[in-house]
Symmetry: C2
Subunit: 79 residues, 2 copies
């Protein structure tokens, strides 16, 4: 089963990569069109299960134990 995990910095935590890209887009002439940029990680996994609830449970464990730094990051799981 295909599981997609999106990990983003929490609101209020400075997203320096996003700020840098925003600045670079401004320099390239997109200054009128871009209001805000945030950058996160997207992790796509193939899990050996056909149960949606089991996949969600496994993915949550993986996020808590390894994938996300829950002090500063939020994650969402799409199945």
């Amino acid at each position: 089963m295909r599981v997609v995990i999106n990990i983003f910095l929490k609101e209020g935590v400075l997203d320096s990569q996003g700020k840098a890209v925003h600045h670079a887009l401004d320099s390239l002439g997109f200054e009128k069109s871009v209001q805000d940029v945030r950058i996160g990680r997207q992790i796509v996994m193939q899990l050996n299960t056909s149960s949606e609830s089991e996949a969600r449970e496994e993915a949550t464990k993986m996020c808590e134990e390894l994938l996300a730094n829950t002090v500063i990051e939020d994650y969402s799981i799409e199945i």
Copy 2:
């Protein structure tokens, strides 16, 4: 308008970050559940337009000019 851009390494390009995470998950006891891991970037932008086609056009330009390395990466745009 909110635009989401997902950038991943093309098929066939070694995803060393994905491999490392796969290995780490194996070490943590998920070796039976994980088949494959791929890691990419997700960029979420707020654009100053209410036209979907305009937003898509702008986002495509940004990807080609700055956000993606189209030699080794593919991107998809969700609006």
